[in-house]
Symmetry: C2
Subunit: 378 residues, 2 copies
């Protein structure tokens, strides 16, 4: 007998009451019942995104909403700056390239955050840059990027939008869209929102909506204007992912009940505790200077393959964490603390990590990680 | 106390065992467990699509897969024939237009099927047509189009693909992709597959995959080659809609257990019974010459607003059927018999329809619809 503990940075565990809501008989979307759910969801999404704008709900993975951001804001031949410090930064550049948007890459060393001064310099040198694309958390490296500082640079430029992939960010830490002046904030269902994957979100500022009017890139399924027109009638342009929207209704209620401030401080505490625990085990963080509250990326000890750690954790102990991606593969493993994770899930993960490291011949004080975590979380 | 009966042409009811499968704790997609589910799903989708090709699984509504079909097959300036005999035929044309594909519309009267001879004529006149887009069932009118006959016209043309929207078709009636020579068959989760909306499918012939190689329309999220590369490793290009895929695994098992032939004949019998019942009530079919086994479209009696019938059925009796869309709005109502619908759901729907019609002052023999249906279904 072995229980499963999911501590990967997406999908994350789905709360029992959300699973239950989603397992009710199928509901038709063109009914007053569903429209009333949509009305609640719209209001709660505004709370979550800290905005007065509508938050679009799309039936797709996060990447679909990222593509939507590019094709709705920009036009063929436009120039854009992309912060590339991991796999998801690279994805922004790939999407831009696919649509003929000229990309100026800011290549950031994996594990490091982008320096806002470089963005300022790039923008000053290239006055025709129409958008800056970045991540709130670069999930592949566990880095948190300085969104607020970058928003300050861009918010007064009338024709340049700041586009933030907040898939691993919204609902994890503070990203007040309106107050900071983010122009397009993307979210996903399978992270802090505690839902299965299959829904993505996009919220646009006034400035962004003006750019949408001018955009000439081809689009159909991800046409944001068409979605907005339907959303304000509590509908969607195409058949919505009904069961996921019903789950969303429930998970947003949970976030409201806990309160955004408490949600953020829970993530902060859990991230601190996780970092303290792995450091107590003598391990090094992959993103020590700017770690995210969503996921902690840890370098495997010298001579030990990180994939082996991930595999033993999973096959022997039932703990699902993530390995590294692309160039970080084999070098790091990643423990998520976002969404429906409690203290004892983290204690369990650290305990299993200790057993795994011991099995792999790594030398440390057995129990020191768990003890450190208890000190933080008691 | 009022129970709900869902007889709309999508979403359709989700079987209890599928709901149950989807309500298990969240599973990570990069695990042997999920990969083994994907392996089963791949094999069962081939059975459902009657093909030896891989069936791509996309996290989106059916419209997303329709867009995928256009952007993966064609190039800017290509010409395509679109069968436009309802809302979904129009959608093919809209997607083509959005991507700069030149459309030759074959406008078919709503409620009628396209005549294959017209397709042959169009193709002969326009040798450079790269694709013919059509629906298996035009859901908005309840028409079944002659896919087999059209496939015979196109299958020997080396550079022209037949693209069939089988969202309301696959798993309802026989659409043997390989045998007939359909080049791209699109499916959706929320119809005969008895799942919530949020998944779509696309299966491509050898000819279609060759066209994909040449296609230069921009695409990213709907890049079929990238999906195929991942699918054969039991993965997907982007985070899959995990819970829906797990539901799919279960619903495909149900279809296997019943057997495709039995599934088809069930839909045939239910459609016949529904048509007989509404005709016994003195009502007229909207698509009398080529009705689909998926959904029966019925003209409201003279002087009665079809939307009123739909509303009374829903609010007073708990029966969810669909009204007409666009130009058919107010004129027709649509009763679906696809997916997880049994005889007594249909008896219930006809019974509620009788009560509704009586309330609206329509004169007929009360009970005659139900009696006719019993004769067909006993």
């Amino acid at each position: 007998m072995k229980k499963r503990y999911l501590l990967a940075p997406g999908p994350t565990p789905v709360p029992e009451r959300v699973l239950q809501a989603m397992s009710l008989p199928m509901m038709h979307h063109r009914t007053p019942e569903f429209e009333s759910i949509m009305e609640g969801v719209r209001s709660d999404l505004k709370y979550l995104f800290q905005t007065e704008k509508e938050v679009l709900i799309l039936a797709c993975s996060g990447t679909g909403a990222m593509e939507g951001a590019v094709v709705n804001l920009l036009s063929r031949g436009d120039r854009a700056v992309v912060v590339r410090g991991g796999k998801f930064g690279e994805r922004w550049a790939e999407i831009c390239n696919a649509y003929g948007v000229e990309v100026i890459n800011i290549d950031v060393t994996w594990g490091e955050a982008v320096d806002p001064a470089i963005i300022r310099e790039m923008i000053n040198k290239n006055k025709d840059v129409r958008a800056v694309f970045m991540q709130a958390t670069e999930t592949s490296t566990g880095v948190k990027h300085p969104v607020k500082e970058i928003a300050e640079i861009i918010r007064d430029l009338p024709e340049t939008a700041l586009v933030v992939d907040g898939i691993t960010g919204v609902g994890v830490f503070d990203l007040p869209m309106d107050r900071w002046g983010i122009d397009l904030l993307v979210g996903g269902s399978q992270k802090a929102l505690m839902l299965p994957p299959g829904l993505a979100f996009a919220c646009l500022s006034e400035k962004a909506w003006k750019m949408v009017e001018r955009s000439n890139l081809p689009k159909y399924y991800f046409d944001f204007r068409k979605e907005l027109k339907n959303l304000i009638k509590n509908q969607s342009a195409y058949t919505p992912a009904v069961s996921l929207v019903i789950g969303l209704h429930e998970s947003l209620k949970m976030i409201r009940e806990e309160g955004l401030e408490n949600v953020f401080s829970r993530h902060r505490r859990f991230a601190e505790a996780t970092r303290a625990a792995v450091e107590a085990l003598g391990l090094k963080l992959y993103a020590p200077k700017s770690p995210s509250e969503a996921v902690t990326a840890v370098l495997a000890p010298e001579g030990i393959d990180a994939q082996k750690i991930v595999r033993i954790m999973r096959d022997k102990h039932g703990i699902i964490i993530a390995g590294g991606q692309d160039r970080a593969k084999g070098k790091i493993f990643r423990i998520s603390h976002m969404g429906y994770i409690d203290r004892f899930d983290l204690i369990t993960a650290i305990s299993a990590l200790e057993m795994t490291l011991q099995e792999l011949g790594y030398s440390f004080d057995l129990g020191i990680g768990v003890k450190t975590m208890e000190e933080y979380l008691r």
